[in-house]
């Protein structure tokens, strides 16, 4: 099996490593979105809990 | 042991009376042979093509039976009955797997001669082929009973079985086809490496029978 010339081979190797990187970054992005959602909901729930506590003080 | 024979006898009796699995399997297989005749544009098959057509057809026909193997238990509360009785869950697994083997053997007893009539020039290989098919049936039955039990609890029952079962059956297919191909060779059966493939088939059977034996308690538990 003859070896491809360096510049052609380089594109494929780069492609493979970039595909790996891309997959990793997609995963990180999805994880970040998940965390953002959790954070947002936590904030709302915290406000809700504070509101509740505030109402309970009313006579 | 008594539970095993009782459940197996019940299933075979029901099948004999209602004929819901085996005739469908046979009809399916024969229709599939006709499809292959036209799909491949061949009237005679040998070697890898013959092995592939026969085994793929048996595999797909088996799925028809596997889909229904726990239907009665699910519909009529059979699972609860077995849970309440002092019976090993593994007896249920063994009985269902044995029932599947019986259906498959009957299927092959009818359809292999049909296959030979349709496509084979030389019938000399049929006896050793029967051994290959028997070992394949054991593997099909073990994995089929396991996957069917998992699918019984699910919503998309009929989809889950073929979906999950087919990739699981690939090594079985590889080994069975590997053994069948030389047996069905054009110039007459050859026994080249058949023993190796029979060994792999046997290994597959043992592994999945053991797994079924080990995990079935957890499948039944509720």
């Amino acid at each position: 099996m003859p070896a491809l010339p360096l510049d052609e081979a380089g594109k494929y190797v780069a492609g493979a490593y970039l595909a790996f990187l891309a997959l990793l970054l997609v995963y990180v992005a999805i994880m970040a979105a998940k965390l953002q959602r959790i954070d947002r909901e936590l904030r709302s729930l915290a406000e809700l809990a504070e509101e509740r506590r505030g109402d309970g003080d009313k006579p | 042991m008594r539970a095993f024979t009782a459940i197996l006898a019940k299933d075979l009796r029901v099948e004999l009376r209602t004929l819901q699995s085996v005739p469908a399997m046979v009809l399916f297989a024969v229709s599939a042979f006709v499809l292959f005749r036209f799909g491949l544009d061949r009237t005679s098959l040998d070697g890898s093509l013959a092995a592939g057509v026969l085994l793929a057809t048996v595999l797909f026909a088996a799925i028809l039976a596997v889909n229904r193997v726990f239907v009665a238990e699910r519909d009529q509360g059979g699972f609860d009955a077995i849970r309440l009785a002092p019976v090993d869950a593994t007896a249920l697994f063994a009985a269902k797997a044995a029932a599947l083997v019986v259906y498959l053997v009957v299927l092959e007893a009818v359809t292999v001669p049909v296959f030979a009539i349709f496509f084979l020039d030389d019938w000399a290989a049929l006896l050793p082929l029967a051994l290959v098919l028997l070992l394949a049936d054991l593997g099909l039955a073990a994995t089929g009973a396991l996957i069917s039990s998992l699918a019984t609890g699910s919503r998309a029952r009929d989809l889950i079985v073929p979906l999950v079962l087919l990739p699981l059956l690939v090594p079985l297919m590889i080994a069975a086809a590997g053994a069948a191909e030389p047996l069905l060779a054009a110039g007459g059966p050859s026994y080249d490496r058949v023993a190796t493939w029979l060994g792999v088939l046997g290994l597959y059977d043992v592994i999945f029978l053991l797994i079924g034996y080990g995990v079935f308690d957890f499948v039944l538990e509720d």
Binding site: M1, F20, I38, L48 | I174, V200, V215
Partner: protein, 284 residues
């Protein structure tokens, strides 16, 4: 996916699978170690490892493709082990670990197939080859584990879903080596091994690069599993909090409270309860 799983939860287990905060520190250390290992590995690949005599520069893909494959397969077997522990103990922690192990290994599996395909194209001009037993065997394993998700989501009852998923993970874990043997046999008996990959005949410098790369990819797997588990845990805690903040029904109303599914619905019921502060029970 983790969120749709937790919304199926009925609190049949009293002990939630919690992760103490020391796990966050461990995750941070792991991430840094992973980053360092992968940078080291890639540096070795491109600046230290010698060029392969037959395949030339293309061979460099192997330092990525093979470790990804090995780690994914080991990951599947690890998932099977977690599944065994889940069945024996009934503890949902092990089910979570099993699920996440399979999830991350499936993602690594996609990477294996993509890098394998690129390598096949570069070496053979075709985007897929049936001659490479490892690649083919991997495809089959990947196809099998891809069915894990539809199987899980087809079962509604949370406990049974976890139990059956564990049974599947055990079957599939046993399947991995068996499948590898069968595919390998099929190829070696039909075609002689054409590609000597990470076996025999590799000079020491290639071995070192390969091992460092394997180590880095393995660390990456562990780190991603850690993050995924932490995210699931956070979602579960959130669900717990949401449930705890549900307004209780007014006494004697005879109406069963159905949990408001969203925070805004809770706000509305909150406002409603606050408006009726002279009712039989004050807002909780």
């Amino acid at each position: 996916m983790g969120d749709s799983m937790t919304t199926h939860t009925r609190m049949t287990r009293t002990r939630p699978w919690t992760q103490p905060s020391s796990h966050w520190l461990a995750l941070r250390t792991l991430s840094i170690a992973t980053f360092a290992a992968i940078v080291a590995a890639f540096s070795l690949v491109f600046f230290y490892a010698p060029l392969d005599a037959d395949q030339g520069f293309i061979q460099k893909i192997f330092y990525l493709h093979v470790p990804l494959g090995i780690v994914a397969l080991v990951g599947f077997i690890v998932a099977g082990i977690h599944a065994v522990r889940h069945l024996r103990s009934g503890d949902p922690v092990h089910d979570a670990r099993s699920y996440v192990s399979i999830h991350i290994s499936v993602i690594f599996g996609v990477a294996v197939l993509v890098t394998g395909s690129i390598w096949a194209r570069a070496s053979w001009g075709k985007w897929w080859v049936w001659d490479e037993p490892t690649l083919v065997s991997f495809l089959i394993v990947f196809l099998l584990y891809a069915t894990y998700y539809p199987l899980r989501y087809a079962i509604e009852d949370r406990d049974r879903q976890a139990r059956y998923a564990s049974v599947f993970a055990i079957m599939a874990g046993a399947f991995v080596p068996l499948n590898f043997i069968a595919v390998r046999l099929a190829e070696t008996l039909l075609h002689p091994r054409v590609f000597a990959t990470a076996e025999g005949g590799m000079p020491g410098s290639m071995w070192l690069t390969f091992l460092v790369s394997l180590f880095g990819i393995a660390l990456l797997w562990v780190t991603l599993v850690g993050f995924e588990l932490a995210a699931k845990d956070a979602s579960a805690q959130l669900a717990r909090l949401r449930r705890a903040l549900q307004p209780r029904p007014a006494a004697g109303s005879g109406r069963r409270s159905s949990a408001p599914a969203t925070v805004s619905a809770m706000r509305k019921s909150n406002a409603r309860l606050a408006g009726k502060s002279r009712g039989p029970r004050g807002p909780e």
